[in-house]
């Protein structure tokens, strides 16, 4: 027990404190304090030297006065004097005062540092600890400069006491966090790792905290901590509930240490050493098993501590994402918590499950809990829990359950808290779009969304529904009918009027045959809403009216009447007035033909990434969007909404099956020429050019169009066309690819999506699609740290071209933000055009600054020639005929090689399909063999390819034969493919 608890130790202090407490008024308190300050001042100034006890007492009083909120401008020197006392209590009060009141007062700092230095060197563990705590508490740069070099020495010195080691570790951690540059790395780092083996659990705990922080910056230096952490964890997990004495918390052995160890392991990939990995998996299983055992104590503290470990274990399992068995078990465990009576557990279970949903191994298991989660959304009384339930529903949604989830979310929206409505609206809009199978359902959903939560439906959402209706002629009639019905409601949201106005203006003719929705009825319905709407909506409706004049000549007179009315022609709003005047003139002057041309139906919008998705990403930061981007989640959706369809279709016009999210979008066309007649309203309203007319206020269409128009690439650098490097993207700046680049590239030969690269700082995900000779690649750069990356610049070059000076690949990149916040993800889109065949993949060089240190990394971009494969189906006869035609020796490439993976026919098939060729059945007389055919599409030429793969299960060998019309292509394809088996 510290000496202060000896109440009689400082009677004067106790009396003073109780005096203050007894003060009836603020004035009385101030009076008492001033009296005391005068007293202390006179004592300090007095001729008589004060003894240590008195000094301590007065310094304590000053401290108390300071804590009451008064300024203290003297006494510092006396406090510093106390530091050199040999009495613990005096030294302690001295340090206390310094820690609370120190500022960078230069003279004092020197004295203080001197005292600290003496204490650190004193070999008295108590004094050393006091000094270390003081350094940690102040944590200033000056202190760091003075002591950062000493502390590691104390930490790893063989003769340091446990308590000192513990304090030194925490002190170092504090200094490192405050100013990382001051803490020198060195030979001590290896010895710090060995503290994980220390006898004293306090030392281990402090060391884990320190290592977890240090290893983020220098993962390789601390790599050995993985096996030590695993063995420490294993000893804790398997110890009996009383083995660890002081470190057992309600029968749970060292819960916080276990959590920290599990967290440390999450800084690294799964251990490579099979023995370590086996031991770790055993640990994880033990934790999962223990969760099922009856509790050793009824106390809630027991189960809380146990669950803390369990949740951390589950995060580690999710981090590894490689043990299907554990993932499913984790999911089942969380499933039990979903119905637990503790709100905290339900919350955490929903949160963890959200991440589980994104693993391909556990996605299905998560889906089985859908009913419970829906129930949580309906019945939870805590908005934060409901929010988690909504997040989870979003994460678990796929084609199979989209209708159910969307309808539940819509229902929830009616009663949802205002704070989260907009987010729910966005989520519903995205799910509806992403998983729409029939588009009438999609239209219904979005209109419902507007009906239920119109205020929260942002422009992106209703723009999107218009884009989709415009681009899909099979849904236009239905959309017109539905909006017409929706507009019948006596009170409908203004967003509904906008959507209704736009759709009827475009497609009202499709329902005009029904007398209940004849043109005059449509018009009067819309016009009944007109006066209640904002200027922007009224402007949009005026455009609808002029379109009606074209669609339904019988309404011309009525509409002209409306336009001619004083309230339009002399409207105070210049935009409305101008529209009314110009539309009126247009309708009276122009011939029917001219009208029909000018007021033609809107052309389809170019397909592109959903603006809603972009909005959600912006809103939620990373994480939210990434679940969506994670294509692994939902393999079944690939056939429509994400995958590359084998059917050839022209890229410039969206095919009817065009993916809603625009994933298969063609590269953006060149920006249209600026319209010549600037200021011409018609250009403004009807042209499909996005150019905004400066003289006019932004009309809704304008906003609409500019929203929809693909932005011209910011840096339309045909990087490779210009051998002179751009200022910041010089190929000579690009380092050689990292050693594992080839291996990483090989992973992507047969697939298009996945994680290209990952280390402690950065994760790079790839999502790509190729059609004919065009490709689009999305690169997702995720900052895994909590610190912002600066000067972040990824660049792409194609070294192959630099050697030969022949342009074979054109890659358009967009610049990305140069700062990537901690935990954030940025996306980069690459448009790739294959001009001719190529052998070397382009290089991706990523450079940024992390914590002041420049980082750079060069990878091979997973663009290989086979990406431009178009599968070709052919009969056996044709195959053999062509095979014979390609009989020149240089046209054939053959390789015989040993199987590196188990020889599974299904896997092989999938790989060959992933490679890009068509698989031809019944061609080869031997059914074990695989035969494929395809055409490599480049802009300059097409290369026909035939391939044959003969597995020999007994010898565990393959023979691969490629025949193409071009010699280097045969060899290259053969090499690429041979590495896959």
């Amino acid at each position: 027990m510290p000496a202060v608890s000896k109440g009689d130790g400082m009677r004067g202090l106790a009396v003073f404190i109780s005096d203050i407490r007894n003060c009836k008024s603020k004035e009385a308190e101030i009076k008492r304090i001033n009296k005391e300050l005068a007293n202390i001042r006179s004592k300090f100034k007095g001729d008589k030297a004060l003894d240590g006890y008195s000094k301590k007492k007065y310094v304590c009083k000053l401290l108390f006065i300071f804590l009451l909120g008064h300024d203290i401008d003297f006494g510092h020197m006396e406090a510093v004097n106390l530091l050199s006392s040999n009495k613990y209590t005096e030294k302690q009060i001295g340090y206390l005062f310094i820690s609370v009141l120190v500022n960078s007062n230069s003279e004092l700092i020197r004295l203080i540092n001197n005292a600290i230095k003496n204490d650190l060197a004193s070999r008295n563990p108590t004094f050393m600890c006091l000094a270390l705590h003081c350094i940690a508490n102040v944590g200033s740069r000056e202190m760091g400069e003075a002591f950062a070099a000493d502390i590691p020495r104390i930490l790893v010195a063989g003769d340091s006491m446990d308590s000192v080691k513990q304090s030194a570790a925490l002190c170092l951690l504090r200094l490192y966090k405050a100013s990382p540059d001051l803490v020198p790395m060195g030979e001590w780092t290896a010895r710090v790792v060995h503290l994980l083996n220390d006898q004293h659990m306090g030392v281990v705990t402090a060391a884990v905290s320190l290592i977890t922080c240090l290893c983020k910056k220098n993962p390789d230096d601390f790599k050995t901590c993985v096996s030590l952490a695993v063995s420490r964890l294993s000893r804790i997990v398997s110890s009996a509930s009383t083995d660890l004495q002081d470190y057992t918390y309600y029968f749970v052995p060292a819960p916080w240490l276990s959590v920290k160890l599990l967290r440390l392991l999450q800084c690294y990939p799964p251990p490579e050493d099979a023995a370590v990995k086996g031991r770790l998996v055993e640990c994880l299983e033990t934790v999962l098993n223990k969760a099922q055992e009856p509790p050793k104590s009824k106390k809630v503290q027991h189960s809380n501590a146990k669950n803390a470990i369990l949740f951390e274990t589950i995060s580690l399992i999710i981090h590894y994402d490689s043990e299907p068995n554990l993932l499913v078990r984790a999911c089942n465990q969380l499933g039990q918590f979903l119905q637990h009576r503790e709100t905290n557990l339900r919350y955490l279970a929903l949160e963890s499950m959200c991440t589980l949903a994104s693993s391909e191994f556990s996605h299905e298991a998560v889906k089985t809990h859908i009913d419970t989660v829906i129930n949580a959304l309906k019945t939870e009384r805590d908005v934060s829990v409901r929010q988690r339930a909504a997040d989870l529903l979003y994460a678990m949604c796929d084609r199979s359950n989209a209708k159910q989830i969307v309808s539940e979310m819509l229902r929830y929206l009616e009663t949802a808290d205002y704070a989260i409505r907009e987010e729910i609206v966005l989520k519903v809009a995205i799910l509806a779009e992403k998983y729409a199978v029939d588009y009438s359902w999609y239209v219904d959903t979005i209109l419902n969304l507007i009906r239920i939560a119109g205020d929260y439906v942002s422009e992106e959402v209703w723009y999107r529904v218009l884009q989709i209706v415009t681009n899909r002629d099979d849904v236009q009639g239905y959309a017109a009918k539905t909006v017409f019905e929706a507009l019948q409601a006596p009170a409908c949201h203004e967003n509904m009027v906008k959507v209704g106005g736009y759709i009827l203006g475009e497609f009202g003719n499709l329902i005009a045959g029904d007398p209940r929705s004849s043109p005059p009825v449509q018009f009067s319905l819309l016009h009944s809403k007109f006066h209640l709407c904002s200027v922007a909506t009224r402007a949009l409706l005026l455009s609808t009216y002029i379109k009606f004049i074209n669609l339904f000549p019988e309404t011309k007179a009525t509409i002209q009447g409306v336009l001619r009315a004083g309230s339009q022609l002399r409207n105070a709003d210049v935009e409305l007035q101008q529209r009314a005047v110009e539309y009126l003139t247009l309708s009276s002057v122009a011939s029917t033909d001219v009208l029909a041309t000018v007021l033609e139906e809107m052309p389809p919008f170019p397909e592109r990434e959903s603006s809603i998705l972009a909005k959600l990403k912006r809103k939620k930061g990373p994480g939210a969007g990434s679940a969506l981007d994670d294509s692994r989640r939902d393999p079944s959706s690939h056939d429509i909404n994400g995958g590359v369809e084998p059917t050839p279709s022209t890229v410039s016009t969206p095919s009817p099956s065009a993916d809603l999210l625009g994933l298969r979008a063609a590269p953006p066309p060149a920006a249209p020429p600026a319209p010549s007649g600037a200021g011409n309203l018609l250009v403004d309203v009807f042209s499909d050019s996005p150019a905004a007319q400066p003289g006019l206020g932004p009309s809704p269409e304008e906003a609409f169009l500019s929203e929809l128009e693909p932005p011209a690439p910011e840096s339309p650098m045909a990087l490779l066309a210009d051998p002179a490097p751009a200022a910041d993207a010089g190929p000579e700046d690009i380092g050689p690819p990292i050693p594992e680049a080839d291996e990483l590239l090989n992973k992507f030969v047969c697939r298009n999506n996945g994680v290209l690269f990952e280390n402690q700082l950065l994760q790079i995900g790839v999502k790509s699609e190729f059609r004919q000779n065009l490709g689009r690649m999305y690169l997702f750069y995720g900052n895994k740290t909590s610190v912002q990356f600066q000067n972040f610049s990824p660049t792409v070059v194609h070294p192959g071209d630099l050697q030969t000076h022949i342009l074979s690949l054109a890659v358009q990149t967009k610049r990305v933000a140069s700062q990537v916040d901690g935990g954030a993800q940025v996306q980069q889109v690459l448009n790739i055009e294959c001009l001719r065949d190529f052998l070397t993949p382009p290089l991706l060089s990523v450079r940024f600054r992390y914590g002041g240190a420049p980082q750079s990394l060069t990878l091979k971009l997973p663009v290989t020639i086979n990406k431009f494969f178009q599968p070709t189906e052919m009969a056996a006869q044709d195959f053999f005929q062509r095979w014979k035609q390609l009989s020149l020796p240089q046209q054939e490439a053959q390789k015989i090689f040993k199987a590196n993976h188990p020889m599974d026919a299904e896997v092989t098939k999938a790989k060959l399909l992933g490679f890009g060729s068509a698989l031809l059945d019944n061609v080869d007389p031997n059914p074990e063999n695989f035969v494929g055919a395809g055409i490599i599409q480049t802009k300059a030429l097409q290369v026909g390819c035939l391939l044959r793969l003969e597995p020999n299960a007994q010898a565990q060998m393959y023979r691969l034969t490629l025949r193409t019309s071009k010699e280097p292509v045969s060899r290259h394809l053969c090499e690429l493919l041979a590495q896959q088996f």
Binding site: P2, V4, S5, I17, R21, F64, L67, Q92, L96, S99, V100, C129, H133, A136, N137, S163, Q166, S167, L170, C171, L173, R174, K177, M201, G202, T205, A206, S209, C213, L244, D246, Y247, T248, Y249, A254, P255, W256, L257, V259, R263, Q301, N304, A305, N307, A308, F311, E312, S315, T343, N344, R346, Y347, L348, R381, D382, V383, S384, V385, S786, G823
Partner: protein
Amino acid sequence: MIKFFLMVNKQGQTRLSKYYEHVEINKRTLLETEVIKSCLSRSNEQCSFIEYKDFKLIYRQYAALFIVVGVNDTENEMAIYEFIHNFVEVLDDYFSRVGLHVLQLLLIEQPLPAASRLAARAGTVSAK
């Protein structure tokens, strides 16, 4: 990672605050006011975790005293939740005979180094 540690009474006054990252004094007041408001407005049925800006707040109530810990999103909520209780137990064990004013002094003195947490019962405190 723990960002800050607050002890607040029901009247909304901060009794103790400790920040492990630099936050300007005037911003602290604002932050504390908002944090306290969001804790006080919650009922027993609600969970003990609140998302607040970039932090997650984890809180527990002991009679008229709230203990609130602000963490970043990689922290284990349950571990912090139980850590608060452990902390209170340690204080209770250690200072049961000590008046509040001395407790207040000591609370500031204990280093509670960032992210260390009290490792186990009496763990770091016995370092003194």
